[in-house]
Symmetry: C2
Subunit: 239 residues, 2 copies
Amino acid sequence: MKAALIIIGNEILSGRTKDENLSYLANWLNELGIQLSEVRVIRDEEEIIVETVNHLRAVFDYVFTTGGIGPTHDDITSKSIAKAFGVALEVNETALSILKEYYKDSELTEARMKMTKMPKGSELVDNPVSRAPGFKIENVFVMAGIPIIMQGMLEGSKKHLKGGKVIQSKSIDVYTPESNVADTLSKFQDKYPEVEIGSYPFSKKSRFGTSIVMRSSNTKKLSECESEIKDTVKLYDKK
Amino acid sequence: MKAALIIIGNEILSGRTKDENLSYLANWLNELGIQLSEVRVIRDEEEIIVETVNHLRAVFDYVFTTGGIGPTHDDITSKSIAKAFGVALEVNETALSILKEYYKDSELTEARMKMTKMPKGSELVDNPVSRAPGFKIENVFVMAGIPIIMQGMLEGSKKHLKGGKVIQSKSIDVYTPESNVADTLSKFQDKYPEVEIGSYPFSKKSRFGTSIVMRSSNTKKLSECESEIKDTVKLYDKK
């Protein structure tokens, strides 16, 4: 099972706000056996939202979006998703009743009413943190951008997701430059095609090293691969 | 002037590593008057790298890539970029001479030689931090993924970039929910089309508020807009 994330927001692209949702979603999906396979960060522009959603929902099992479902003029995600699906944007009665619990009729301004409008055919995604819910239409899950609210909505999405085989991962840190272990790792990658072997240089307190990360849904092969690599690379370790 | 960033790496998509290059690049480009307009995070897979590079280099003035130019088997960015441009991957003599300063001939393993191979027609991008350089081919800048090296390579890219009008930004924090200021902001957005007005909810120490961010290359309009919005929203501030 594969998923994509669309981060919608000029504030991320301007560098003003650092995204925290990508790594949270990636780890959360890992536990369900769903692989986050692509992420796009795009501007709050209808045309690009429509194009991106329509491309990714055809390619991946699930698409998640974050951002742009609030009450202000720059929140255009819901409207754009309706357009992507070619359906009307309409008041969701359940969302409206949720907001009516919080606001008097006279306080239900045009801006607040905006948060009750969703593409026709959407199902609500619960928001246990603040009032306005997210929504799901077909395989697309539309969530808020604020990390704590997004994380709540993810829990609300869980019942709609079908997981796959869970990927386990193992990691070995060795204090030697990547280039010293490159040939070795290449051979192990050929020997263990069912294990995805990655190699990432790091520096800790001015010392350079390599993190070797192995990922697989086959736990037996993963353990074998880990133990063989460990035995081999310890020769290079300058710890 | 508009740019895109392609973050190449399974370690970002698996949630293992948090990307730090997006916000750094965004801020760095802002100062040159170049807008970061789209970011894609993709897997270390040749086909998707080729497709993504070819799409984005046709759409944007500049494309930056990070990750996948090291010595290990999972570093396939250079090879994939050569394929995207339909040119051979060949040893760059300058890159080779840089590596020869560090390694004896017998230490120039196949893995290390990999770092000297670049698409035919590339120019080197200096790497003041570690030895192996990045490269530039047409409007595509290929850099390392490690933040400190990527930042060094960006400085090396600067001479190749033509900036545009610098976007200034102003920000007002008000302690009131977004929905209270939404209608006001919408009116100001209509009044000041040359200013991009964004609105972002925040919570600090359990208090909710709204950051209003205004961005424009027109400093006069930006100041006017800021001062008018400030006067109006202070009525809502529950500081």
